[in-house]
Amino acid sequence: MTDTRPELVRLSGVEKYFGAVRALGGVDLALAQGECLGLVGHNGAGKSTLMHILAGTATADRGQLAIAGAVPANYAPGTAKQLGVRCVFQELSLCPNLTVAENTRVFHPSLTGFTWRRRAGRLILDKLDAIFPGHGIAPSDLVQDLPIGRRQMVEVARAFTVTDEPVRLVILDEPTSSLDAHTAGQLLGFVRRAVGDGISCIFISHLLGEVIANCDRIVVMRDGTTVADAPAAAFDRDRLVAAMGDVEVHARDVEAGHERRRGQSPLRVRARPARQNGAGELVAHEGEIIGLAGLAGHGQTSLLLSIFAAATRATTGMEVTASVALVAGDRQADGIFPLWSIAENIGVRSLHSLRSGLLISARREYELAMHWRDKIRIRTPDIDNNILSLSGGNQQKALFARALGSDARIVLMDDPMRGVDVGTKLEVYELIRAEADAGRTFLWYTTEFDELKQCDHVYVFRNDLIVADLTRDELTEQKVIQSSFAEAG
């Protein structure tokens, strides 16, 4: 570690909280000029949050950021850009209704005057030519008409264009995720050349091989802190995976009574992802808890939703033999009815059985809600209070009560434990296990390994496909992570 290059960025003791959830817990990170730093970690490890703080789009609750030795005051995206920090965010930050040239203009306030359009076009085209020869993009193309891979190319190229502000650090957050192998290779080659020219680079990727091969140094993050920081040469794929995952071996809390042979009970769900060809389908029987694992957004939610749709309307490739209820993951967006009481929120899935004549029986709704309040301990003085009077974890319990209190024999869970505290989680795990023993079937998408350990059988998803099919005995975190990440190169 005899690094003589001048230091460009230093983050010290950075903490960030979203409500009660700690996203970053005191991160220290330093980066030298002309260094390519690889940043890896599981979903929710805090990588993106850290980069948002570095790019000025989020502010740290505690800690300090210094660029080239100075601590900038009122750090904001504009300041970051003036200091030469560019960021290619995971979510595309191009305006789809503008052309490629116009998007370049958005990035460069100095492109004004009568010929701005031509100059912006020339600027972006030259950079695209330099990074992705043969890219096939014209500056007058509307971004909305470009396929996702080309949008990504434009965005990457734009981050490297220079007018009056320097480029000193480019943050690439999953830049290759929507590029094919050829263009990804072009990009990585360009990054190495840029680093050679003295530009620093932070490279975030789930393709571990890429990170090891192209970075000078690798930092591993887990649970909002950095857990490893060493030259890339010190890592291989297995060491990285081990550093990212939970290395302590948890005692597996399998009770003997739960050891059940698959296929003994009647079939409940047989589903196949839309793009799956060849082997690989999800099968669930009565009384089973089936885990859907893999990185976030790799097709788990869409499969759950198509199973939900298949329950009411026959769909080819889907077989659902009982009624279905869904526990939403994004509570605020598609879970709770914010203006309704707790009781109404719980009863809404069971309106058929709560009816008396043409009306909803308030008494039966109240009874149902009280039953579940006591059973899963929703902490509220009055079940008729507004749902928003509950804490996040208790709102989630109310959503569970809605599904479990209904007549549904299959419960689909779309990563429902996000942002729920440990105590509540343990209570819900117990409840799910008890309900499964009583004959309910659970399909449980989760990004947390601890929750997979509750499952009887786990399917791992990657790129909208089922890539692994693990029984409870085969399940290890290593295996899940191994199959979640594409085999690089």
Partner: protein, 327 residues
């Protein structure tokens, strides 16, 4: 797949590279105008003349201006439900103060534009739905208009009457005015470098603010432009009708929204087309009364028939653009 089927276009010039879906989208409004024109020509060939167009389109100029005003608001993902009442209020100011006390009239109209900019600021800063704010404002403008002119009356300033009575050679005045309006709005919003920022704020506001631009300024600019074109619309309306009425602009809110959408604009995403919007306004102005009169539809039924035509034309546009989106 996509990279195989799309030819390498690097050899093409920087500007003006052909883009088929974009061309189709741009031609749609012109197509609907052509359909209405063909209908009129078929029903009454004599209407297709210098004099005929001047007559048929004399109310198209204020509609086109109101449509452009609405377009600026829609470009920022908002909707202005007060533009009709605003045009009516401007009309009342024009027919009274602007004629009698020109300085007061001018200050009032400039103040109106400032109020619009302030509305933009309010909507942005408080994160309010523009529909609610502008709906509220529509009652404010309407009330002010009634206060100014409780009974229909007043008179347009002479200079305004003269502008609106211009008889340019060869091309009828409304068509010339429409071309000028479209050109000004097109250059301002589509060609200037700040226009790209304004449209971008509707397309992806996050990206614009991350690039260091002020969304507040963008929103205020868009609303101020809407106010400016609303004022011009009121002036043009009074120049055509010669006197004012507090309710004179009431139909303009819906007409302007329909004109923007008919012209290829979309409610969200910053996708608007100034030229399309003007063509949409002309189409609506023609489909409104001349076409219906020529179809011998009794006046009692014209408003309903007008609405029906609007639905048919807009439905056709949605159908065509949906086909275009899924080739």
């Amino acid at each position: 797949m996509a990279s195989l089927s799309v030819p390498d276009r690097r050899g093409l010039p920087l500007i003006g590279a052909p883009n088929v879906p974009r061309l189709l989208r741009a031609l749609l409004p012109a197509l609907s105008l052509a359909l209405v024109l063909i209908g009129i020509a078929w029903l009454n060939p004599r209407a297709i003349s210098y004099f005929g167009f001047t007559l048929m389109l004399n109310l198209a100029v204020p509609i086109a201006l109101a449509t452009i005003a609405q377009m600026f608001v829609i470009a920022g993902n908002d909707l202005d439900l007060s533009i009709g009442a605003f045009v009516g209020f401007v009309g009342c100011v024009t027919a009274t103060w602007l004629r009698d006390v020109p300085l007061l009239g001018i200050v009032t109209l400039l103040g109106c534009i400032a109020v619009y900019a302030a509305l933009g600021a309010l909507i942005h800063l408080r994160n309010l739905p523009s529909i609610v704010v502008t709906l509220g404002m529509s009652f404010v403008w309407q009330g002010l208009a009634v206060l100014m002119l409780p009974k229909p009356g007043g008179k347009a300033p002479d200079w305004l009457l003269e502008i609106m009575r211009l008889k340019p050679p060869l091309v009828p005045f409304p068509i010339l005015a429409a071309v000028v309006i479209a050109a000004v709005a097109y250059v301002g919003l589509m060609r200037t470098s700040y226009g790209a920022i304004l449209r971008g704020s509707g397309g992806n506001a996050l990206a614009i603010s991350r690039a260091g631009w002020s969304l507040l300024k963008a929103k205020m600019t868009l609303f101020a432009c809407a106010g400016l074109f609303g004022v011009l619309s009121g002036l043009a309306l009074i120049g055509t009708t010669t006197s004012a009425d507090a309710n004179i602009g009431n139909g303009y809110t819906m007409l302007s929204i329909a004109g923007v959408i008919l012209g290829g604009g979309e409610f969200i995403g910053g996708r608007v087309s100034p030229i399309g919007a003007v063509i949409g306004a002309l189409t609506l102005a023609l489909a409104a009364s001349p076409l219906l009169t020529f179809m011998r539809i009794p006046p009692d039924w014209q408003v309903a028939a007008n609405g029906a035509i609007l639905i048919v034309v807009l439905a056709a546009r949605v159908l065509i653009s949906r086909k275009d989106a899924q080739p």
